[in-house]
Amino acid sequence: MARLGKQYSDGEIIVRQGEPGNCMYVIQDGTVEVLAIRDGKELHLRDLGADDFFGEMALFEEATRTATIRSKGTTRVLTIDRKSFLGGIHEDPSLAFRLVQTMSHRIRDLTDRLARYEESG
């Protein structure tokens, strides 16, 4: 059955670190891995599942992708265009609420991780 989004197979790269981006993604179905590549080594940051989004920084910055996103099993992902998103925010700022809320949770998570790293170091 033809459902929404684009399907990726196991191990397929959806977003590659260092590449330019102009959209974010919402996971319709399945799981993806968020990976940071440092000195050729993969560092697993977290897994994301259905309804989670990724690539949102590209909506606000002209910078390149900060992480690689790889499909873990079969996944289906919906693309959110920058133009569509920013146009929506212009009309209805509350559209960004969930995005800001999630980014806030991620900053909190990163702060916790940094604190633990500083403690252990």
Partner: protein, 467 residues
């Protein structure tokens, strides 16, 4: 509306009192179609974010789990690309059970040929859904209706579903009073009318309250064909089939593939038997069906469509959203319902429920839709001229095919047609794109090239379907 309440202006002239929602405020939402359910959902969402305790009663006598007219809201059931993206951004990811089929292209059919217009991302971002649980006499489906899904979201968020038919809304001192067919009545701080274009409530309001004009409707035609998944895959594919035919009063016609069924939607100026006869005997339509034979439809309706919004769509402690307020002309009515629901919820939670609050914070959205609809009328008038002029159709077809054959080429005509058919962009934006010098240059060139050498008509360009 209650006859004792005089003019609409008097209705709106409630003395200045506590016209804001507070902890414990009661809100009645009349109608749990997309606008009513989304209003309830977003209102409760915003209230939660601002630590406001609200009680929302969502009145809907129908059950969307029913098949046929009893559970259906009578529309083509297409969720536009822009709405799919916005809902996903809001955290409302349409589940597979709701999406009957993801649409990834539009196929334009004309007497001189047809062309498939593909989404640049090769991704399915348009959803074909059922508003109820499928056509009359269909097999029970495992899928869920779109309206039922939104209603469930609202209920999960805290709305109280009341399965009663509201028959009257009137003002009772500083509050609004609701009466139901079974004698039930109650009072609320805010009443939200989301009862659709067929509601008697707006007709009563127009009769009893001077200064209010209910939306103006036109008649459309929608029917369902049972083709089976395999036949749909072979003939229509994940493509919505749109017809640009020289049939007077027909503005738009589309075949929308769903699970086992295909929905046909005819929109225009009062669709009647004569128009339908001409449509069904067109070779371009017959060729979309197996063996060129159009099967009997299993379910049909003549729904009324809002072509001119209510004025004003608000009063003190009352606001009209969706089809009984303001909606888009012909396209993306559910997207317009989403925008109206959010704008009304924002006004109620963050500003107040007085007429002036809705005028300042809800009416601008309605006005922008109404202004945009004027551009829509202009675009559909131009499309009507193209329908009538064969030389223009040749130019449009040639330009679209050329763009679809060359991936790197700017998709000027394809983009205009895509957004016009899908309703994903505002009509004004689409119109402005047709004034771009590069668009005009390409169109003029294709009009000339497409009509100079008619001995070699452009090839038919389709990825999906056997014809």
């Amino acid at each position: 509306m209650g006859s004792a309440h005089g003019s609409f202006q008097q209705l709106a002239a409630e003395p200045e009192s506590a016209k804001t929602l507070r902890d414990g405020s009661r809100i009645a939402v009349v109608g749990a179609g997309p606008s009513g359910s989304m209003f309830s959902y977003f209102l409760l969402n915003m209230a939660e974010a601002t630590s406001l305790q609200l009680n929302v009663d969502l009145f809907e006598p129908r059950r969307f789990c029913h098949r046929g007219p009893a559970g259906c809201n009578h529309c083509g059931g297409v969720i536009s690309e822009s709405l799919v993206q916005r809902l996903a951004t809001e955290g409302i990811v349409l589940p597979d059970e709701v999406v009957q089929r993801g649409i990834e292209s539009y196929t334009l059919h004309m007497d001189i040929g047809d062309v498939e217009i593909c989404t640049p991302l090769e991704e399915r971002r348009i959803a074909a859904v059922y508003r109820g649980n499928g056509p009359r006499d269909s097999e029970p489906m495992e899928s869920e209706s779109f309206d039922g899904y939104l209603q469930r979201l609202a209920v999960d968020k805290g709305a109280n579903l009341v399965q009663r038919l509201v028959t009257d809304v009137s003002r009772e001192g500083d509050r609004m009073r609701l009466e139901c067919a079974d004698g039930f009545h109650d009072e609320y701080e805010l009443v939200v009318l989301a009862s659709g274009i067929n509601s008697r409530l707006t007709a009563d309001l127009e009769e009893r309250a001077g200064g209010f004009r209910k939306p103006a409707p036109t008649k459309a035609f929608i029917c369902e064909f049972k083709l089976g998944r395999e036949v749909i895959r072979e003939t229509l594919g994940p493509s919505m089939h749109v017809f640009l035919l020289d049939i007077p009063r027909l503005e738009f016609a589309a075949l929308i593939p769903k699970g086992e069924y295909t929905t046909l939607a005819l929109l225009g100026d009062d669709i009647d038997e004569e128009l339908m006869q001409r449509f069904f005997t067109s070779p371009e339509v017959k060729n979309c069906f197996p063996g060129g034979k159009i099967p009997d439809h299993v379910c049909h309706c003549y729904p009324r469509m809002n072509i001119s919004g209510a004025r004003p769509p608000y009063a003190d402690r009352m606001v009209m959203i969706g089809d009984c307020g303001t909606t888009r002309l012909f396209k993306d009515g559910i997207g317009a319902a989403y925008r109206a629901a959010k704008a009304a919820a924002r006004a109620a939670v963050f500003h107040g429920v007085a007429a002036e609050d809705f005028e300042a914070h809800y009416w601008p959205m309605c006005r922008s839709v109404q202004v945009d609809n004027r551009f829509g009328k202009l675009l559909f008038a131009v499309a009507g001229l193209i329908q009538k002029a064969r030389f223009a159709r040749r130019g449009v077809l040639r330009m679209t095919i050329t763009e679809q054959r060359h991936p790197g080429k700017p998709k000027r005509m394809s983009g205009v047609l895509w957004d016009l058919f899908s309703g994903s962009a505002r009509y004004r934006e689409v119109f402005m794109r047709t004034l771009h010098p590069a668009y005009i240059k390409d169109l003029v060139w294709n009009l000339v090239a497409g009509n100079v050498d008619r001995s070699h008509p452009p090839a038919v360009e389709r990825r999906h379907g056997t014809h």
